[in-house]
């Protein structure tokens, strides 16, 4: 410790770190109670369904949500990377080609170890696509700008949606709105705006004053896997593929697993259990990924609210790790389910 105080460099670093920490506490939600809060912004409105990016439906029956936008960005990013990697392929791989080859090699070995060389080769493309999509979406989702830049939803729309959702009149004192400067369409979660909130009831009564507007920030971008639709879609594709491969390998024997009339009532019951477990797999696929990524998002929002500047740094690392692990688990389980479903008496050892 004494050594630390004698070294000016270490002392400077220590003071800077401590200063940042104090600054971040004072500027966050804790400091806000004592007149600070100059770095924070009101905690974001958190909801499970993805928010529509546009005020109106893009075309009847279709609302463009922010998770769709992120999905398309993700898809585009992966395709561009894949294009760059395979544009000029060489026998001795370099750069991006090398990265993708290493990835394919890794998953190829994984698939081979799970399902054997022949079936592993068949399962590989889907497993790898699942991995690439999920990991890219997760890692994109923790970039700055996700969840913090968006349009302003007007108080009328906010109340209207809340009432529509509840199916009845709602208590307006329970609806919290943010106050934004200016009259623009775009909104940012600005530092120092922590107290700039108002309830819908107060807004109805006396408004927010000139040059300001109330409403909710609706982010343009939101991590794709924080939408159940995305995770459900991937799960459906995965389970569909699993049963497709099983049917292609076993024919009607695959259906016989679920509807076994020949083996007596117990076999029939086991078949029904099998069918239920397939549905359970679909649901667990969906909610494992969704839950992990959504929880991570909420965690980051909460930490940014409590400790602005530095609070999210360790959790960004955690989210990088979780995003990777969830992607890997999803593709690994797809491989395992596919391997189990296509197992015949010869391959089942």
């Amino acid at each position: 410790m004494s050594k630390l105080f004698r070294s000016p460099k270490a002392l400077t670093i220590l003071i800077l770190v401590l200063g940042t920490f104090v600054l971040s506490i004072a500027g966050g939600a804790l400091g806000n109670e004592f007149g600070g809060g100059f770095l924070g912004s009101p905690i974001a409105h958190i909801q499970l369904p993805a928010e529509p990016v546009l005020e109106d439906e893009l075309f009847p029956g279709f609302e463009l949500t922010n998770t769709m936008v992120t999905t398309w960005i993700t898809v585009l990013a992966i395709i561009v990377l894949a294009f760059l990697a395979t544009r000029r392929m060489t026998e001795v791989p370099t750069g991006l080609q090398n990265v993708f080859e290493a990835l394919i090699e890794f998953f190829s070995d994984l698939a081979t170890s799970i399902a054997g060389p022949e079936r592993g080769r068949r399962f590989l493309p889907l497993a790898l696509t699942i991995f690439l999509f999920i990991v890219t979406a997760n890692w994109l989702g923790i970039l700055p700008g996700f969840g913090t830049i968006g349009r302003i939803e007007t108080p009328e729309d906010v109340i209207h949606h809340a009432e529509e959702k509840a199916g009845a009149e709602i208590d307006l004192t329970g609806v919290h709105l943010q106050i934004f400067d200016g009259k623009g369409f775009l909104a940012l979660a600005l530092p120092g705006s922590m107290d700039e909130t108002i309830t819908a009831a107060e807004f109805e009564e006396h408004g927010v004053g000139d040059g300001k507007q109330a409403g909710l920030l609706v982010p343009f971008l939101r991590s794709a896997n924080t939408d159940v639709n995305t995770t459900l879609a991937i799960a459906i594709v995965a389970m569909f593929a699993v049963h497709f491969w099983a049917f292609a390998t076993l024919g009607f024997g695959h259906i016989g697993k679920f509807l076994d009339f020949k083996g007596g009532p117990i076999a029939l019951f086991v078949g029904i259990l099998e069918a239920v477990s397939e549905v359970a797999r679909l649901i667990s696929f969906t909610f494992r990924l969704f839950g992990n990524i959504f929880a991570g998002e909420v965690l980051l929002i909460a930490m940014a609210f409590l400790l602005p500047l530095i609070g999210i740094i360790p959790f960004l690392g955690l989210e990088l790790f979780v995003g990777l692990i969830q992607a890997f688990i999803f593709s690994l389980l797809t491989l395992v389910f596919a391997s189990l479903a296509t197992a015949t008496h010869e391959t089942n050892h």
Binding site: Q47, F62, T67, I104, E105, E164, D227, A233
Partner: protein, 190 residues
């Protein structure tokens, strides 16, 4: 219309039988439009990646592993071949060495035999030479002894003649005899 516009769905809170619809469609935000969009996006991604990434890279990797396998096999074959030829060479060297050894042995035997013959011949010649020399010496000696004897006899005769000439004079006899003997010894010396 419920399935087409589920986000517009409004379920009465007291309608307990449809609580799960409310949970799924409103609380979780599952809706057909979103689901179909995500499905289509993912399937497009899969199709594009399959064409663009997996097929070419897997083909390339297969080709590469095939080539590596081939070159390994070739290397193995070359190794075996070279081992065989090395062995052959070794065998040839061994044979040549044995042959050389045999040749040397033969040459040595021939040389030994030749030397022995020569030595034997030389020894025989020397023997013959010596025998001849001995014979010569013997003859020489015999001749000289014979000569000496003849001389001596003639001397003795001469001495007897003189003794007889001078008649009986003891002193003269003795003188004569010693004279003869002197002569004889001189003769002998000479």
């Amino acid at each position: 219309m419920l399935w087409l516009r589920p986000w517009r769905l409004s379920v009465q809170p007291d309608g307990f039988g449809k609580w799960w619809l409310k949970v799924m469609f409103e609380a979780l935000g599952i809706n057909v439009a979103g689901l179909v969009t995500q499905l289509v996006s993912f399937v497009i991604l899969f199709a594009v990646l399959y064409k663009l990434l997996f097929k070419p890279i897997l083909r390339l990797m297969d080709q590469r592993s095939e080539r590596i396998r081939e070159s390994l096999e070739t290397a193995e074959r070359v190794k075996v071949e070279s081992a065989r030829s090395h062995e052959e060479m070794q065998k040839q060297i061994e044979a040549a060495r044995a042959e050389g050894q045999q040749l040397i042995t033969q040459a040595r035997q021939v040389a030994d035999r030749f030397r022995e013959e020569e030595v034997t011949k030389a020894r025989a010649e020397i023997e013959a030479e010596r025998a001849r020399a001995e014979v010569n010496i013997q003859r020489e000696r015999d001749a000289s002894i014979e000569g000496l004897r003849r001389e001596f006899a003639s001397l003795a005769i001469t001495a007897a003649e003189r003794v007889v000439k001078r008649s009986l004079n003891e002193e003269a006899h003795r003188e004569l005899i010693s004279e003869v003997l002197d002569e004889g010894s001189r003769l002998k010396e000479g």
